[in-house]
Symmetry: C2
Subunit: 408 residues, 2 copies
Amino acid sequence: MFFNTLSLDEALEISLSKVNALRQSETINVKNIMGRILAADVFSPENLPGFDRSSMDGYAVLAEDTYGASEASPKELKLVGRIEMGQDASTLPTLKNGEAIGISTGGMLPPGADAIVIIEETELENDCLVVFKPAAPGTAVIRADEDFKEGELILPAGHKIRAQDIGALLGVGITQTEVLTQLQVGVISTGDELVPPEKKVTLGQVRDINSYTTTAQIYELNATPISYGIVVDQRKQLADAVSQALAECDAVLISGGSSVGVRDATMDILDHMGEVFVHGIRVAPGKPTIFAMCGDKPVIGLPGNPVSSMIVFEIFVAPILLKRSGSTQLKKFPAQVRAILGKSIPSARGRDDFVRVKLSEQGGVTHAEPIYAHSNNISSLSKADGILPIPADVEGFAREEHVVVELW
Amino acid sequence: MFFNTLSLDEALEISLSKVNALRQSETINVKNIMGRILAADVFSPENLPGFDRSSMDGYAVLAEDTYGASEASPKELKLVGRIEMGQDASTLPTLKNGEAIGISTGGMLPPGADAIVIIEETELENDCLVVFKPAAPGTAVIRADEDFKEGELILPAGHKIRAQDIGALLGVGITQTEVLTQLQVGVISTGDELVPPEKKVTLGQVRDINSYTTTAQIYELNATPISYGIVVDQRKQLADAVSQALAECDAVLISGGSSVGVRDATMDILDHMGEVFVHGIRVAPGKPTIFAMCGDKPVIGLPGNPVSSMIVFEIFVAPILLKRSGSTQLKKFPAQVRAILGKSIPSARGRDDFVRVKLSEQGGVTHAEPIYAHSNNISSLSKADGILPIPADVEGFAREEHVVVELW
């Protein structure tokens, strides 16, 4: 086994090309669908709103009856009634020339009517409606198929559902729909020095936090983490844990293992169980990252440092898990903010750097201050408001330069 | 009652000044704390990592023994053993001049040692360690209190917990902590034309989608929605529903009610039950928005159009609910992306406009195309990738102009 480290783009390209999307799906209630991924294109079963609707409070009329109306020379129409909200106006007599009927915002137009004159442009004297402005056909009318047409694509397969998508689905009466099964992601922690956070640590030991931060990041992707606990640095135990996780999960993450010994053991095991495609990525922090495929299941070895592990998850693991989960949107956090850099940051050409930054507002302008700390220090990520990526072909940024910070 | 419409800034300032944060709290397991708001400042109960640790694979040494080492003139040290991962090295004999001891990344330094020489800068011949480079004191050592110092503030009251914060808390052994109780937000739908989405609609009726999109938006804020169903447009029934919701919730949203009649009824009821501070905001869409306080509880009347309702939630309701929930971060979505505008968009001075836009990537550059549709059309929000705010003092944007789009 001999590996050259890859650039982040190369590592992502190779890894994503090996990963196939899960195809299992289930049908769920649309009210519980937030963040889930559609298994198939969804088409509208009907026109929405399904009838011509008024978009204003006013009067339904025949547009031609209002032509030429003005303050000086208003038109007079006969008020023949009022349409209630929710009333089926199709059974009303066809509106005739010279007639008008009261209607509220959202009310259904009666047969014959083709425009709304809004209340502010009229005056009512008993049952005589005085109209001061002409209305063209279609004025203040929402057409029956204006929102969705029957058979129109509402949302494509692979789309991740947002709040407004729930509105669109329920709007056309879709209350159940098919979504891809949530990804099950196994998380294995390695390291003889690790103890669970609720246990007492003795000198030389540290609490396992990577498996919990990784778990939280998996939840944020709307996938289901399955923890396999802390495995001691012994080849057989690690191999057994990986086998079990592969049998039960759709993807496996091996967290921790910062020492060369654990990394070597992980490499050996993955090389025997499957094929290793990435061993080392030219990013800082996060270089000692491993990507392997065991059958159709991706297995990723994460760096042992908490900061490296979390950043590698954002920039490398998230797109892989999103592709595996069937999502067509492979970027997890497009959330960016522009900021002015408070200090210059040098960066080595040929390596993608991800610098922790603290943001502050000064006179309506966002400023970013780099946080320098060892990637073992979780405090630096908790103090950070975002990450400033420095691409491999950029030799750092100057003080006062405008930069784009990824929030998280 | 006479109201001038307010600017968005004025409406937010008045409303936020009336709202007090909920102070009820509960103690929960840190593993379940994602998105919750801290009730109090959290301080570190101990130093982290708690002992001097190696940040590399190599050998613990007395730095002074390596001074002057070079390829041409290496220094020789006696290897006296190896520190295992997780081992309490404080009980080892103090490392003496001329000695070195093997150590892995994350291992604990023994007494006497003050630097690590990394494995790549050494050669081992039996128990003779040849060192080719000098190490200054502290080289590759993570100090005992470098991550967190005992008594240091980890996170302030009002902070919303992210994945990395879970790592910081668990890292210092905090497994339970006090968070503010999740906000209970009542949602009342009004409108005689509305039917629940699972029911069959007849002509003239429409499915109630606003209460579900609002519910999804409340969940996104990590608050708990409580639905009071669809209330018909009758004053007594609406008043009863508002009373019940006020008794059971921390804040109440009245959704729908697009017609003047319902708006008037809502205004009357809120004016009797409490005090109305905002009636109409100079935003498009979203003008017919009401803000009232009933006792210490904010009540907001949302516009009836689905698009208006969702946008008003993002720009006006979310900050109010976040302040009420005790969060110190009042902006819900700071997620922005810069884009080039595909069409010019005119906008009236004196009004904040929020334009739905569709984003696309063309040659690595993000383009934004405005979506023009009636604010009754939910399809336009489902097709949109984001919202382009046009501030009141800007008369629109020109084609090809660089703009900042808020994602959602």
